[in-house]
């Protein structure tokens, strides 16, 4: 690792940051998320904490700029220089600029903002470039997966040379001893709750709620197995928004916020992608429910009181959508939390109720308790 000449560093351990200008290639929510995760990569190694402010001057002012933006280090358009940051200090010190001419992304289809931001914040905290090719502070771009990212050893040594290590909390816990957090299995048999997401996966039916997933054979209501989501899908952890399976393709899709994961069975295929791959408008930040209809080979996505139809064969969103759920699926009341297709019927889960919808009759043919699907 290398430090800047004179080894400038921050004299305080709580730093403010502000995103003053956003980019058009990602939603503000995504930018905020990537920035937060990039700062956390450093605060995990040293006793620094970062507080976000939304107005006025912050220690680390972050902005997406184009060409000559007034700091005598003009950007150069797509590729080439991606971003730069200034060493700790007053005024420009710590400020971090990204070239808005680049295609920024949360995934790999463009330059991953988390990767570049984590590198630049190394400069903003006092690190220069490292000659270690495995280091985050190496000058050239190399994608880092934000999920499960660990600061390379060289970078930890460098940043701790400036700020010392983040001390493990050795004092007596001020709080009364809290037992280790075991994800309590929400009592779904009380009638007030519903599911976050439901999908077929191979021969199994999966019901998601908070940190728990219930697995059962599709045609056997007994033998329901609750387990933690992390035990089956480590990357998903909890609160899955929606899920569906395209059985004839052998792939399943899991949605959380503006991201989705593709799996083959329980095997994750690659890193998370953004839901805008499907053609959603940018104002859609999350999906409530999704269901794949085998016959027309289309996937319905439910967002608020509207729904979209995605053509799985053409891999594109259908025209004239979104449409009103109420107009199309009369008889299904309330927001749709989860949906699935089984034996030609669509099952809509809304709060404690599940509606069995007959697409032929275009009507609800029965209503049952949501939790009856897991043996309650």
């Amino acid at each position: 690792y290398r430090l800047f000449p004179g080894e400038p560093k921050w004299k305080k351990n709580t730093l403010t940051y502000r995103v003053a200008k956003y980019t058009s290639s990602m939603t503000p929510f995504e930018v905020d998320k990537a920035i937060e995760m990039a700062l956390r990569a450093w605060s995990s190694a040293v006793p620094l904490s970062f507080v976000r402010v939304n107005a006025g001057e912050a220690d680390i002012m972050i902005s997406f700029e184009t060409g000559d933006h007034g700091d005598s280090y003009p950007f150069d358009g797509p590729r080439g220089t991606l971003a730069h940051a200034f060493a700790p200090g007053e005024g420009l010190g710590g400020d971090t600029h990204f070239d808005n001419a680049e295609k920024w992304t949360m995934g790999t289809n463009g330059f991953n903002l988390f990767t570049v931001a984590a590198h630049e914040f190394g400069h903003a905290l006092g690190l220069a470039h490292s000659t270690d090719p495995s280091a985050l502070m190496y000058p050239t771009y190399k994608y880092q997966n934000p999920f499960g990212f660990r600061l390379p050893k060289d970078d930890v040594k460098g940043i701790q040379a400036l700020y010392g290590p983040r001390k493990p909390f050795l004092g007596k816990p001020h709080m009364p001893h809290i037992p280790p957090h075991k994800p309590s299995i929400p009592d779904l048999c009380d009638s007030s709750s519903s599911f976050d997401a439901v999908t077929m996966l191979g021969k199994e039916l999966l019901f998601f709620r908070d940190r728990i997933v219930w697995r059962r054979q599709a045609h056997l209501p007994t033998g329901v197995q609750p387990s933690t989501i992390t035990s089956s899908f480590p990357q998903l952890m909890s609160n899955v928004d929606a899920a569906y399976e395209v059985a004839d393709r052998g792939t399943a899709y899991f949605f959380k916020g503006p991201h989705y994961w593709i799996t083959r069975g329980f095997q994750m295929l690659g890193s998370p992608r953004t839901i805008y791959d499907f053609g959603f408008p940018r104002y859609v930040q999350r999906i409530d429910a999704a269901v794949y209809l085998k016959e027309p080979q289309k996937t319905l996505f439910f967002v608020g009181d509207e729904y979209y139809s995605y053509d799985e064969r053409k891999r594109k969103m259908e025209k004239d959508y979104p449409k009103s759920i109420e107009e199309e699926f009369s008889g299904v009341n309330g927001q749709i939390d989860a949906a699935m297709e089984l034996n030609g019927y669509i099952y809509f889960f809304s709060g404690p109720k599940a509606y069995k919808y007959d697409t032929e009759k275009e009507d609800v043919v029965s209503v049952m308790k949501s939790n009856s699907w897991i043996g309650c």
């Binding site: 800047f4 000449p5 080439g80 220089t81 400069h123 220069a128 470039h129 000659t131 000058p139 050239t140």
Partner: protein
């Protein structure tokens, strides 16, 4: 002029300018007077900067714009210089 690996005149020129801009941006000490830096009279500062770049990236230090060096120069990167600034 640092010899460039065999290339068509146009490629040669493009690569040379690309390299010159890169070295100017990332391997040139700017701002304030250059203290304590003695440059041997007639020493070609571009060759010197190429050697600094090659040393930084762990390449063979030849002072020439060979293929490996041009590959590094063409990679997307951070805008902060590699030499103390």
């Amino acid at each position: 002029t640092p010899s460039l690996f065999a290339a068509t005149p146009r490629t040669w020129r493009n690569n040379f300018h690309l390299a010159q801009a890169y070295l100017d941006k990332y391997y040139t000490r700017k701002g304030g007077s250059q203290i304590g830096e003695m440059v041997a009279r007639g020493g070609n500062s571009m060759v010197k900067k190429i050697k600094e770049l090659q040393a930084f990236f762990g390449l063979r230090v030849t002072g020439k714009l060979d293929q490996n060096t041009m590959d590094v120069i063409k990679k997307p990167r951070c805008g902060v210089p590699d030499v103390a600034n």
